[in-house]
Structure formats: C-alpha cells, structure tokens
Symmetry: C2
Subunit: 213 residues, 2 copies
C-alpha cells in the first residue's frame, strides 16, 4: 500500500486522479496565479472537499482562504508524479492498438521513453516503427533486463496475455499498462493499470440507453 505524507495509505482511486489534477494545473498555469479549492472543484466537476482531501495526502498545499498557488502546486505534482524522470517502456503486441501507441507522441511529452517493440509474427521482426525496432517476443525477457525497462504495455490478444505477463514478471519489469480485455494474473501488489476500451464503450452504451427510457 502506497503511503502519503503523514503515513496514511493513499487509496488507488486518488492516485489515479493525480494526473488529472496535473493536467488542470498545467492548463491553469498561464491563466491565473491562485485558485480556490471551490473554483478548482467546479472546474473539475468534483466537490471542494474531495479536492482538498485528495491533495492533502501529499502535503499541505493550500492556505485556508488563500487558495492554491498554481505554479507551486503544478511543480509539486510534477515531482510527486516524477514527470521529469524518464520511464523506459516497451510495447508487446504490434496489432492496431500496439502500432497506434508506438506513434502516440503524448508518451514522449509525458516523459516516457520507448525502448523496444515486440511481436510473435516472424514477418514483423526487424521492422521499424517511427525509429523503434520490432523484436521477437522470445527476446523480451533478456531485453527488459539489459535495457532496465521499467514498464510494459500489453496490447496482445487476451488468449496469450497471461503468458506475456509471466515472461514480463520474470524479467523484472516493474509495472504493466494493459490493453488486453481481461484482468491479468500478477503477483499481489504488482502495479497494473487497465485500459479496457470495450468495457468503457459498454458502460457508455448502458448510460445512453437508460437515459432514453
């Protein structure tokens, strides 16, 4: 369990909200000097007390009645998220999603560094996408070790995802961003974030249809 400034465990939902706060402070930076938790909460569509509670896990940023100093809090959030420390990553699975992520510049802008691409199809091995080479998935374990890769993105079919996970965990990778439509089998506490596109589309579809009733 990740702990905050005073030793309180930080809930995962709060951690998942942090990048959103960072985005807002980044946007606010050239627009104002200070912002109240009330204004910020209106902007973000949350309650003021949630904003204050979320940020309080990481320190004492706001002064009652004075609001948050935008530049300062943005810098603090960048430090907390370690946005300026590059994270090395690989992408496994060169299907449509894997290829799109390879060309997704937002990773570079956010401080991630793409080290290698992996697939099983012999015909793809050696191909370069935007300057990064596709390697055989057999080489994944040794590649992660020799290149000290921090993070892997999984964009393989769900049938083989857990095999890839086994290799990755054995290789010493430290966390996985998963696009395969299943929950991965990882050791307890191993960092995983899921992007389940169809789950989101189905939830949206449910919201749309309920609203029409």
């Amino acid at each position: 369990m990740i702990k905050g400034k005073d030793g309180t465990p930080i809930p995962k939902v709060v951690i998942e909200r942090l990048p959103r706060y960072y985005r807002y402070f980044d946007w606010l930076e050239n627009r104002a000097e200070k912002i109240s938790s009330k204004k910020l909460s209106e902007l973000m569509g949350a309650s003021a007390s949630q904003v204050r509670l979320d940020l309080s896990y990481f320190g004492d940023f706001g002064q009652q009645g004075y609001g948050y100093n935008i530049k300062k809090l943005k810098a603090e959030l960048a430090k907390i998220l370690r946005i300026h420390t590059p994270m090395k990553f690989v992408i496994v699975g060169m299907g449509n999603i894997g290829r799109a992520l390879t060309r997704y510049n937002a990773f570079i802008e956010a401080g991630f560094k793409l080290e290698g691409l992996f697939d099983v199809k012999p015909i793809l091995i050696g191909e370069k996408i935007s300057g990064t080479t596709i390697y055989k998935v057999d080489e994944l374990e040794s590649f992660v070790k020799t290149h000290s890769v921090d993070m892997a993105i999984i964009a393989v079919p769900k049938e083989v995802a857990n095999e890839v996970v086994k290799t990755l965990v054995a290789s010493g990778v430290k966390g996985i961003l998963n696009f395969a439509p299943l929950d991965l089998e990882v050791p307890d506490g191993f960092p995983v974030e899921n992007i389940h596109i169809i789950d989101k589309a189905l939830a949206l579809s449910f919201l749309i249809r309920e609203r029409q009733h």
Copy 2:
C-alpha cells in the same frame, strides 16, 4: 441519475464495473454451472460483499448458499447492457488512435456498428478504412442526424475537442467515448466515458516508483 430495480440510484462506478462482470460470466459459462459470490469475488479481486451489492442493484440473482447461476446471470447482464441491440457509432479524428479503433474488431464483437469516420484534413476525405469512408468533419452534424448515430468516439487533438463536442451535442448524438486528453464540456448529465491513456500511464509510473522506495 440512473435508477436500479427498486428505484435506488446506481452509482456510476457500479455501472462501469458491469462489463467486467459480463466478461467473467462469459468466461465462466463453459466452465461451471454455478458460482458463489465468495468464489466470484476471489476471481475478480473484489470483496464478496461488493459483488453482492453491485449485482443487487439489478435484481435478485443469487440465492443465499446456492450461488449465482452462471448462464442465467450472463443472459441477464447481456440484457442489462443490451449487448445484442446494435449501437451505431462514428469516429472523429483519423490520427493513430482513431485509425486503430477503426480496425478494432472488438467493437463489432460487442455489438457496435461503425457508420462513418470523420477528419478535417482534405487529403483524407473519401479514403476508406476497412470498408468505412472518411467524411469531412463539416458533414458530421447532418450525418449523425440522417444515420441516427447513437455514439461518437472522439480521437482528435485536445485543442479542437470541445468544438467537435459542440457539433456532436447539436447533432443529437447520445453519448461520447473520449480519447482526447481533457475533460469535455458537455451539458449536465450527458453520457461521457473517458479513456485517458497518459493519465493511466502516469498513475502506473507513480505506483512503480513509490513501490521502489
């Protein structure tokens, strides 16, 4: 606010978990006949009480001590999520992500029907991707109306996302799945689900680094 069987409002987090339950019942279907809430919760990494509470919003599916009938609950979940009623959608933004989603077969498998693609770049207009045509974004509003499109996927740069949203809301589209890295400006209660890839990657990066301390 969406209401459940006995009129209780269903929290959005519960709705967002439903497709995950559906995935598990789909997987379980050919493996067992019944499952207890305890077993199911272990499988899903949740607490048994959460599983029981989540499902109770939608009806009385389990009998104390007998567990859930897998086939029956899968069919119920399919009905709740209306998986067999096709949802018509368009994709706006033919960059890397938009193109990858165009070719993402999981949408079709889940009952979504791709009606059209949209972009601003004149050079792309008229191109077909997997049989679907790219139209000018100027035609978006009339296209949504004439084709009774239910849902739009936004995969445009964040600078223009809210312009596209305005057009979509005016066109009568009923919900948006958003891949642009910002929170969209929509009318109160308008269905939106966000897939913020970089937010997830940054949250993962935070979890990885905290764990190393």
